[in-house]
């Protein structure tokens, strides 16, 4: 039985194929489309999943599972407008056109895209997260904790998994969200929401948590069991286009930092403070999950599970013996969870545990490519090696301080590079972190790099009792490897960054922590082989491992992407399969021009945030439409004995001739005409929606409030011991969109 899971239309769309309970393929659309965090329908990822499963088309699928319930999300959105009206018009104008035109119809649109007539299910957003955390885990039974920004209504859920069942027990609801609190600070610190959260986490160790108590007293009412409410007086994410408001600025002593502006100690301290609060909430929630379920193991998912510092603290200080974190814990992983729910819940199929190993297979669930053919086709100079030669030669280059692009086998599913689409370096070199950040990844110098280590050697270098195959746990570097500097810690961030803190300086963060990846011989033999070769040469079982991309681009997918990225940066060597490419030789050869891949014929308007399809069929359609109107108008005029009809008919004829002979030249008319059409459409849409907002939504919202009904729960309740909401209903009705 083949089940396709889809997550899409918010951020990080993805597809996943599960066959008889086994994960066959999973991939994020951004890797194929090359648009970071692509939120569109994951058509290319779906095509790949079908191909990998050997299916000719989607008609051969037995079930399609979408990762959330759109109607409940729409209900939450409208309830928010009612609760905030007459405020909220800007977000209403932004969100509603997309909902009315696309999101509300997504079931029909997905069916049409796939040409699929079979059964279709819609688990809840947090059910999908919980399933993605528990079903692939190596545990027969476990507590489950999912934390993110928001799904339909739920922002956090605690549950239990056992055998082929996962059940949510308690929830926290919008607008009270740990993910949104973290994103609010991400915004305030001048980073992009939904992608800059890593930067806040990376920045935190440079600072002091001097705003921690202020956050806990003013912004959030945190109960001992980890449940909480946000003080909505300080946030603008419900009614505005910003995450925080003036009250927030006043409370924290200044306006939001402008993107790319200088990072001051205050910003760094704010990062540290929100990180400290987040860790505290995560720890309390984990303890509560343990109390509620009595389980020994914990499974984690949801965007907040990417907070690997918090995960590490749950493991070290929490009550669980082991934890397992879904390697794609964000929305992309929802596709996987939805598909697995289709198998275990909807079809009630049993689940099989495979001993100590999880069912995610190292998360190498993406496409693989024939590397040698690519290099030969493009006459790229390279040295082909056998399985013994390659690791020792690459280890030698790494020891010399070279930076290697490492492209092997199937692409990873999830945001982390785990050794198949990686950039590698020697962690013992002090300059490696700066070199990788500034010359290769072109990103902020403060950002740390992660170590990949042989699984059985992890306890030699890090204080870690769990394996961490997916780089989602931060652990302290062993005391024995640390080099404690003398005197006071310098205050300047860059000076602190450049200090040698351990014998592995490139992966040791300023607080002596590291985001560890343990590499197994079972799930990634080629990377394991390289680490072994490096250890044999140097005695060090660790390499710096960072994703194979540059700032602003998704990690590479194909050998072409890898080669293009390799040639654009200062990487020294590229390993594609068993072939080694030397940058110097490749540059000399001039093979395979590195211009960006041919893009579709799209024109982006400088005035409106719209893209126009300028392909020949689109231009011909345009000529036909305008031509038809001109013929109708012209005929009507002639019918009324007006000679002005002839020029219109002639113009229509001219358009027809041009569209047949030189259609490309139509774009000079097409672009301004369509811009006018879009501009008029945009004005009309705004006028109509503004009227709807003030004439219908605002009176209903005010009436509701007047009658004492509130669509959302606001305000702190000091009399309550907790804010958890018990889930009374069982699993949702999967076939319904609500």
């Amino acid at each position: 039985m083949n089940i396709l899971g889809i997550s899409a239309f918010y951020h990080d769309s993805a597809a996943c194929l599960v066959r008889d309970g086994e994960i066959i393929a999973a991939a994020q659309e951004e890797r194929f489309s090359r648009k970071k965090h692509d939120a569109g329908f994951p058509g290319k990822a779906v095509d790949y999943c079908l191909r990998e499963a050997g299916l000719a088309d989607a008609a051969q699928l037995d079930l399609v599972a979408f990762y959330e319930k759109p109607f409940l999300k729409f209900e939450r959105l409208l309830s928010t407008y009612l609760a905030c009206a007459p405020r909220g018009l800007p977000t209403f104008l932004k969100a509603m056109p997309v909902w009315m035109k696309e999101k509300i119809w997504l079931k029909a649109d997905i069916r049409e895209e796939l040409r699929f007539e079979g059964p279709f299910i819609f688990p809840e957003h947090h059910e999908s997260h919980a399933a993605s955390a528990f079903f692939p885990s190596p545990f027969e039974r476990a507590a489950v904790l999912t934390i993110d920004g928001v799904g339909e209504w739920t922002t956090t859920s605690v549950g239990r998994g056992e055998g082929n069942e996962v059940e949510l027990l308690e929830e926290l609801h919008f607008p009270h969200s740990l993910g949104l609190l973290y994103s609010a600070f991400t915004y305030y610190l001048g980073f992009r929401v939904n992608s800059g959260e890593y930067k806040v986490m990376g920045l935190a160790p440079y600072g002091e948590p001097r705003f921690r108590d202020l956050i806990l007293s003013e912004l959030i009412d945190l109960k001992p069991d980890g449940s909480f409410r946000l003080n909505l007086r300080y946030f603008d994410f419900m009614a505005g286009l910003r995450m925080t408001n003036r009250a927030f600025d006043k409370l924290l002593g200044g306006p939001p930092r402008k993107p790319e502006a200088e990072l001051t100690q205050r910003h760094v301290d704010l990062s540290r403070s929100v990180q400290a609060v987040t860790e505290e909430v995560m720890l309390r929630m984990a303890r509560h999950a343990h109390q509620l379920t009595g389980e020994r193991h914990l499974c984690l998912a949801g965007g907040v599970a990417l907070n690997c510092v918090g995960n590490g603290r749950i493991l070290r200080e929490g009550p669980f013996e082991k934890i397992w974190i879904q390697p794609a814990p964000g929305d992309a992983g929802g596709a996987l969870g939805a598909a697995l729910l289709g198998w275990h819940h909807y079809h009630e199929k049993p689940r099989q545990i495979r001993g100590e190993r999880d069912a995610q297979g190292g998360s190498f669930l993406g496409p693989s490519y024939d590397a040698a053919t690519f290099l030969e086709q493009h006459t790229i100079p390279h040295t082909a090696m056998n399985d013994d030669e390659l690791p020792s030669r690459v280890a030698e280059l790494l020891e010399q301080g070279k930076v290697i692009g490492w492209f092997q086998g199937r692409m990873e599913f999830g945001p982390r590079a785990l050794g198949n689409r990686s950039i590698l370096g020697d962690p013992r070199r002090l300059d490696m972190q700066q070199k990788l950040n500034l010359k290769i990844k072109f990103r902020e110098g403060f950002r740390p790099f992660a170590p990949a280590i042989l699984e059985e050697r992890v306890s030699d270098c890090f204080e870690l009792k769990n394996t961490s195959p997916y780089m989602l746990l931060v652990a302290p570097v062993k005391e024995t490897l640390r080099l404690n500097g003398e005197g006071e810690e310098p205050s300047d961030m860059i000076t602190r960054l450049k200090q040698r803190r351990s014998t592995l300086p490139a992966i040791t963060h300023v607080d002596y922590s590291a985001r560890v990846q343990t590499v197994s011989a079972v799930t990634n033999p080629s990377f394991y082989g390289l680490l072994t070769a490096f250890e044999q040469r140097t005695g060090c079982p660790v390499l710096v491992n960072t994703s194979f991309n540059v700032r602003g681009e998704p990690p590479v997918c194909t050998p072409e992407d890898a080669y293009r990225c390799f040639m654009k940066t200062e990487m020294d060597y590229l390993v594609v399969g068993n072939c080694l490419v030397d940058k110097a030789a490749a540059s000399r050869s001039g093979a395979f021009p590195i211009a960006d891949a041919k893009k579709p014929v799209i024109w982006k308007s400088p005035l409106l945030d719209e893209e126009l399809d300028c392909s020949v069929p689109a231009l011909r359609r345009f000529a036909f439409t305008i031509g038809t109107v001109l013929v109708l108008l012209g005929s009507f005029m002639l019918w009324g004995h007006r000679t002005a009809g002839w020029p219109l008919l002639s113009l229509a004829f001219l358009l027809l001739i041009i569209s047949i002979l030189v259609p490309a030249s139509l774009r000079f008319v097409y672009r301004p005409w369509m811009m006018l059409a879009l501009l008029l459409g945009s004005i009309a849409s705004r006028v109509l929606l503004t009227l709807a907002f003030f004439v219908v939504i605002t009176p209903i919202g005010l009436l509701q409030r007047f009658c004492g009904k509130r669509a959302l729960e606001f305000g702190f309740k000091s009399s309550e011991t907790n804010y958890w909401q018990r889930r009374t209903a069982g699993p949702s009705d999967y076939e319904k969109q609500f």
């Binding site: 005409w673 059409a677 459409g681 209903i700």
Partner: protein, 53 residues
Amino acid sequence: MSGKISILREFWSFLRVRKKWWLAPIVILLLTLGLILVLTEGSALAPFIYSLF
């Protein structure tokens, strides 16, 4: 088209089951606006249509 009609039917059942009748006028209005916008926005006909008003 039949897929979209079935979605409208499901939406009606959603309002009934969850007893969210107060959403009905909002949704009907928004869907009507959506229809107008879909028919006009981004179409080459838009300048002709809007010039009528």
